[in-house]
Symmetry: C3
Subunit: 367 residues, 3 copies
Amino acid sequence: MSFLRNCWQVAAFGDELAEAPLPRRLCGEEILLYRASTGAIVAMHDMCPHRLVPLSLGQRRGDTIECGYHGLCFGPDGACVKIPGQEVIPAAARVHTYPTIERFGMVWIWLGEADLADPALLPDLHWTEDPGWTTGTGYLHFAANYKLVTDNLLDLSHETYIHGNTIGNGHDQSIAQYPVTATTEHGRLVRAHREMPAIAPPPFFAMLLAHHGKVEQIDRWQSAVYLPPGINMTDVGVYPVGTPRTQAVMLRVLHLLTPETELSTHYFWSMCRNAGLGDADLTARSNLAVDATFNEDRAMLEAQQRNVCAHPHTALPGIAVRVDAAPLHARRLLAALIDAEHANPRAVAAPVPLGTDGPPMLAQAAE
Amino acid sequence: MSFLRNCWQVAAFGDELAEAPLPRRLCGEEILLYRASTGAIVAMHDMCPHRLVPLSLGQRRGDTIECGYHGLCFGPDGACVKIPGQEVIPAAARVHTYPTIERFGMVWIWLGEADLADPALLPDLHWTEDPGWTTGTGYLHFAANYKLVTDNLLDLSHETYIHGNTIGNGHDQSIAQYPVTATTEHGRLVRAHREMPAIAPPPFFAMLLAHHGKVEQIDRWQSAVYLPPGINMTDVGVYPVGTPRTQAVMLRVLHLLTPETELSTHYFWSMCRNAGLGDADLTARSNLAVDATFNEDRAMLEAQQRNVCAHPHTALPGIAVRVDAAPLHARRLLAALIDAEHANPRAVAAPVPLGTDGPPMLAQAAE
Amino acid sequence: MSFLRNCWQVAAFGDELAEAPLPRRLCGEEILLYRASTGAIVAMHDMCPHRLVPLSLGQRRGDTIECGYHGLCFGPDGACVKIPGQEVIPAAARVHTYPTIERFGMVWIWLGEADLADPALLPDLHWTEDPGWTTGTGYLHFAANYKLVTDNLLDLSHETYIHGNTIGNGHDQSIAQYPVTATTEHGRLVRAHREMPAIAPPPFFAMLLAHHGKVEQIDRWQSAVYLPPGINMTDVGVYPVGTPRTQAVMLRVLHLLTPETELSTHYFWSMCRNAGLGDADLTARSNLAVDATFNEDRAMLEAQQRNVCAHPHTALPGIAVRVDAAPLHARRLLAALIDAEHANPRAVAAPVPLGTDGPPMLAQAAE
């Protein structure tokens, strides 16, 4: 498997975890997650080392997990604390545990070398916690490799063909017509920026700009940002033509991808907006639209994954076109990071900031 | 895979194809079929060469297919005619297309070397178009290799055991009692002929002979004809004992088998009859009976396929009995044709006529 | 596959077999079972040697089986007695048959060398036929290897964690607290004995002791007995503290495991009790409780099997604890018997008695 491990990845939303343990496969590993009485998140291998049954079939007893087969108990550090029928507990009786941290509404897990798990290595997603932004969240399961999802997120020209009902402009103003600038920054992050001046507002943006009344034309920007292996952000701004860019309605859409297996992906998303703050009805309508939109991607990517499996000797893209620039940057960067970790299992690539809180400078859009 | 490719094979019934493109796997290849505005049938590889998604998830735009992911458009000849976001279209941007021809109510496809696709190589199934015959049609999907279906069609002794409700005589007049003559003709076609004089009419034939009133005994012939790889015809005649053979009710049942995969088969059938011409009610009842009958075969052959998969080292037949003569002719002939095509990828075996329009001469039945 | 073959294994309950043939996979082989007019049980390979279709899709004709495809008929000895369309029957036209014997309410089959199939090699399960005992029976299908089921049956400490609703004591009197004596007897049988004095009666035993009124404390013993490859017996006794051990309510629970495949098991059970003789209502309630109890095991073992498949390089147990003693005896003994049969395909290990009809001596419980 080709997963990057020395990095923080999203395991769950914070509000998924309470008393009841949650089993979830992450990067191929069966993991059991629960919130200890201290509030800290425990992540342990979901398999009893005695007879290999899932610990998730057992019971939580205080902050320990009791195996449902023979009653062995494991504490939050993974050490066995009880073996029914004997006093002595062998040192080998423990389950692997993983460092975790809770931040930005999410639970992060470190699947690599545990002593390298530094909270300072968390990516900065502060919009989810900033009172100047309101956030909606959701989860989808994609039966597709996470790299196919990243390809999708870095080339937004597909919005015209897949998302005409929500965020895509039609053929006459197809997204691909507007040039995109793809760059790799600091050897760590890919950014693909596009300006779309004087364009019709697709339905989702008309909804966000409703306080302006009916809007015929907007200026719109979109930056797809990728911090490998799994942090994607779409930085979007829209504003009626003639109004100040600094007063744009902005979105920071976080697409946080954690592989389940080589062929499936956990897709956690948070959409932060700087308008309609605290408007729960707008959040609800927005969440519905986002869920519908991402499910349109899911249908396409799952079909793509089936074809990729059926044609294992065909590389992606089969033919390269201009809009592939950013996905190609991303594939190269991810491969380099994975190679570096294979060469040195203690290699860690620190994250870099995804962007500023304001609109990107217009100069940035020049190709 | 061991499919013969330099030949016409049925891809669809003509009336399946209209505006909406139809995806279908044929001999392991994903193919998209649609009828162009000219009326001609387009068959193209159902996979965008850019990112390998099925083109069948896209949209038809005039006579082109627009990929549903990034909007690349492909014309009826497979050439890419549009790439959103750029003017230049690289020569590699094309999908494979396949020669097709529409005839006898069916769409035929040529999966082999395209320049060899000569309409003169179509088998002659003129009964489907002849005003002296009335035709009913249907389709079944068999989860079994096409060679198991051919074995079935060339040894009709199974009618007694599988099809007692429609076309099989019972144990006292079991089909196998009547000797069969199996021959390979012109190194190209297998024929297995049987005469069954003075036999009770099974229910299906009683229905066809209803205009004679209640019939106690009939003379019946059946010829199973096989033109590899996938053209099978059952040439059947029934007439009350004492009436002229030349006035027999005759059936030409076409069983047109196209492999979907090594383990599944598209089964297109057309039953042509020279009686009850234009009687739509008779056609409807007949179609129901045929569908039920072939589904009886399906249940048996799918079970057989599962056992064949579970016992890969057991050849078929495990023991050879007399009724295997025609299936063995067929297997030898098919293997020789496939070997010839492997040896010379441009080898083509022209079809030969399946039979005459009238009853076979009685002399032909002598063993 | 690692199945022991020179032994009697349960193929069915006797009352499953009547006129209609029953197909069942045993140790990976497809077998067709039916009761001949003589009352004897026929077991034949469920596959026609002609075209490999299941004979179970055919018809029974008297004591022969007629293949549903081409009508070949096979007698109770497996010899072909009819081939439609010909007089000569080749010697190769036969299906393999297996020795069978009916005893103790069950049909036993011998999958190994047929001439070694001696009725004297049947294990003695006389409780099912003894008027001093009343028997309830049932069947479950486990999607787990039979060795995982044997592990389960030889370490009953799991009753506390899986079976609290029926036969398990709670944490304060957990089964594992009571020492167990694990022995291999005669190089042929494993016994794990445990005494549980002055213990609360779990619901199932309270039901069996209802004639004593409300019972606060009981003395209880349990012996798990294993005669490889598939005979397991749980020898249980319960009696109110202060009443004579010789008047205990006793159970002889037979768990007769026959592999279906490497990953699935037929689980035939018979629970014999020496109390409430002939009480059909008690039998019905008891059967329901046993079925529920064993289904609790099934859920755990099927999850365990999935993990064992996913972690093929991890041996069982991953860590050994004290309660594994008897399962480890059993694995060693079974492996030795399989090795012996591989070394000498005519090796046979005769069964030894599972136990006496009375309570085990108390001295036996000393560790």
